[in-house]
């Protein structure tokens, strides 16, 4: 029997043999992965390792949204991009890398900025969303869109020598706004471009995002929902803490479900967070 009754081709069996050998993952887990679709928003520091591992593991349809181009000062952490792609769209570069390690999956390029006018349409094509962006308004917009479309959201962040990871909107768990109903003051919203990041820190968080997405897609293991991982690279300390559940008062996912797709499309996330959706240019004032 070449497919163990699951219709896997001999090449597929050979490629994923180490997954198939895992009793707790096995043919069922791999079949689930092959049938799943995952969207990674952002092909930067977090998106690079997340995309590499999601492509390698056999996610059937892998989408990438980004509107940036590859720059030399990305290369210290965005390991999916090669120097040959400097000046070219990150989506194109990342998709080429994904295809070069796994030609048997479908990689979909969304070479555009994610905004309220296209987010619903793009997200609706995928089972799971991975937030690999670098700014506060995008994080609110992505979470709200996931709530509206009932998609689980794997959210990672990294800055300096620290990282954070959790899964939102998964099986009755909290959304981003349940935790952060009010945006922080803009002075607290540093991003990588402003204040630096040790390249391997988003590497670690991005890999952990891939793992959480794989667990949800394959229906294996306990996703990090209702819990948050806090990583401190300098001291090599990791905490996994228990966080609040869904809030009945949440303005987006709470009891009074008044937040509509129309409202989403009209919502001004930049004004809400007082922070821009597009990356600011680097200022190096050492």
């Amino acid at each position: 029997d070449t497919g163990f009754g699951h219709g896997l081709s001999p090449d597929t069996i050979y490629r994923y043999s180490r997954h198939l050998l895992l009793p707790s993952f096995g043919v069922q887990g791999q079949s689930n992965l092959l049938k799943s679709s995952i969207l990674v928003v952002g092909a930067g520091g977090l998106g690079s390792p997340a995309l590499l591992y999601l492509a390698a593991c056999g996610v059937g349809r892998l989408g990438i949204v980004d509107h940036d181009v590859v720059e030399l000062n990305n290369m210290h952490r965005q390991v999916i991009h090669t120097e040959a792609f400097i000046g070219q769209p990150k989506v194109k570069s990342a998709a080429a890398a994904c295809r070069s390690i796994n030609s048997s999956i479908l990689v979909v390029e969304h070479q555009e900025a994610l905004r309220t006018y296209n987010a619903l349409e793009i997200f609706s094509q995928y089972d799971i969303i991975v937030d690999a962006t670098d700014n506060a308004p995008s994080r609110y917009m992505i979470s709200d869109c996931c709530v509206l479309l009932r998609k689980p959201l794997v959210s990672g962040a990294a800055l300096g020598l620290e990282g954070q990871l959790t899964v939102y909107n998964y099986k009755g768990g909290p959304c981003y706004r349940c935790l952060f109903p009010t945006p922080p003051p803009t002075t607290a919203c540093q991003r990588c471009a402003d204040s630096g990041v040790l390249g391997v820190v988003p590497g670690i968080i991005g890999c952990l995002q891939a793992l959480e997405a794989i667990k949800i897609a394959s229906a294996v293991g306990e996703p990090l929902s209702g819990r948050m991982l806090l990583f401190d690279a300098l001291s090599a300390r990791i905490r996994i803490v228990k966080i609040r559940g869904r809030s009945l008062q949440c303005e987006v996912c709470g009891e009074n479900l008044v937040f509509t797709q129309k409202q989403f499309k009209d919502f001004d996330y930049e004004n809400f967070t007082q922070s821009p959706l597009a990356t600011a240019p680097l200022k190096l004032n050492l």
Binding site: T133, L159, G160, Q164, P184, P185, R191, I240, R244
Partner: protein
């Protein structure tokens, strides 16, 4: 009361870049217990060296700061009314947006 206070996600910059503080917080005269509200006031007075508005708003923490008492979100233990006990570990961490 012996407590361990930790600051992360950039909040450590407000207290001389020190992340872990082993502190001894005295109960106020006549008080029988120490709550998170009391602790925040103590932290504001004793540890925050600059830009207190980056740590607090009103008598609570500013938006975007998670508070964890013994690795558990303070929303689950009563937020400002949470009663602290000897050797508790309280973490203040600012949410990150970078990537």
């Amino acid at each position: 009361m012996q407590l361990t206070l930790e600051f992360g996600g950039g909040l450590e910059l407000l207290s001389n870049s020190v992340k872990i503080h082993n502190v001894n917080v005295e109960l106020k005269n006549g008080a029988e217990k120490l709550t998170m509200k009391d602790l925040l006031a103590w932290v504001r007075t004793n540890l925050i060296k600059e830009r207190p508005e980056m740590f607090m708003k009103g008598d609570s923490v500013r938006p975007g700061v998670l508070v964890l008492v013994n690795d558990c979100d303070w929303e689950l233990s009563g937020q400002l009314d949470t009663t602290l006990e000897e050797k508790d570990v309280v973490v203040f961490i600012s949410t990150l947006h970078g990537g």
